[in-house]
Assembly symmetry: C2
Homo-oligomer: 225 residues x 2
Amino acid sequence: MNPEEIDTEWVERFPGLSRLEPATKKLLLQRSTVVSMPESTVIFGPGKSPENMLFLLSGTVRVQQVSETGHEIVLYRINAGESCVLTTACLLAYDDYSAEGIAESAVKAAAVPRQVFDDLVAQSPSFRNFVFAAFSKRITDLFLMIDEVAFQRMDVRLAHKLIELSKGGDQISTTHQKLSVELGTAREVISRQLQEFQRRAWVEQSRGTVRILDRAQLEKLAARD
Amino acid sequence: MNPEEIDTEWVERFPGLSRLEPATKKLLLQRSTVVSMPESTVIFGPGKSPENMLFLLSGTVRVQQVSETGHEIVLYRINAGESCVLTTACLLAYDDYSAEGIAESAVKAAAVPRQVFDDLVAQSPSFRNFVFAAFSKRITDLFLMIDEVAFQRMDVRLAHKLIELSKGGDQISTTHQKLSVELGTAREVISRQLQEFQRRAWVEQSRGTVRILDRAQLEKLAARD
DNA sequence: CGCGGCTATGTGACATTGTCACTGTTCGCA
DNA sequence: TGCGAACAGTGACAATGTCACATAGCCGCG
């Protein structure tokens, strides 16, 4: 909790919630607290179920999975304006699973107690709509991810990920190791693919960064699906 | 709808619903209709959103995905006692996606109109609980599936799938092609793996069937994760 | 400055899996 | 009986994963 940054109007700036009934907004604001967490905080994980539902106001949370074999893969990210509802709900129901949520940057979020969340779902049709839409989006995204992991070529997936991580810029600060976790593959595979991209003058590498030289070509490859 | 098979007590036999409040049960029974569908019915799919939520009373529904490349993979099955809530909800929210649900056997289900479903969520805490538990289970299962597809060896996955499909018996009626769709791989890969299993005398093959000879060895391999 | 120690990256050999283009086999049925 | 469709087998090759290393850049510290 960060007193000087309390924002009693956060609901208005939350895309999915601004159209709620006034009474619902009031309840949300009254019964929630705004919390801040530094980068790298483990927000939830094995044996660490949160007791609150979070609504992300700023920052991003990376949700990833570590399998028994030590392999890791990034499942998805929760950005400002989205909620952890589903992941939180999952943890409440099945606390023996292996995904964890990590603050990828400093994070500010509204924490809503479980009971309040339940009341909101009961009271507000538009809040129900918001929650079910979030669940639905997540499930359909997971469907697409399964399809990609199972059937997509690595070069296409890497090109796609580079475009995504560049966020419009041309410089990406990351390592081959981190990229391999993003895609659920081995570091060596990333190294080889990046070398091939470099050979084609699509990217330029230096220790810890990848610079995009020919975005158009990368996008063309990424579109192959 | 199948008049002679109407079962006004189905709610009682539904594991997740039998503990609902009496008023909720009554509402469910009054406002739903029991429908029957023959095997191979496409219950939902691209461009075919159902207007009702289904609660499966008997039979199973296979949910699979067809990607643009023509590859297929089975995502999960819905068995008697479970509901299509999530998949249906997904379709309502994002009707441009590619998963489809197919009756794997003759299916009997209770159809609940969307509006009634919404009312139930609003009214009944235990129905909410049921719905969120279903969503949560599905999402955690999808997490596990992503992990398996990304990191598990094919022989382990096939052994696992054979055990699962055998349902305790030793005879499985399926083709290499169907097994490849179950695991999201190519038919040739299944053929090779089954030949290896056969060489080790773990299974016996004939056209359209696989017979398990050494379940213990298959289970031992399947446990490798 | 130079020297470890750490992290990041490169490399080659090999195993596994996916793809392609076939062939052969079995089954149902006209 | 012959034909077509579905099912299964095969070999060559490409793509990806695994392993055991080697090499290179970075940083703090004496």
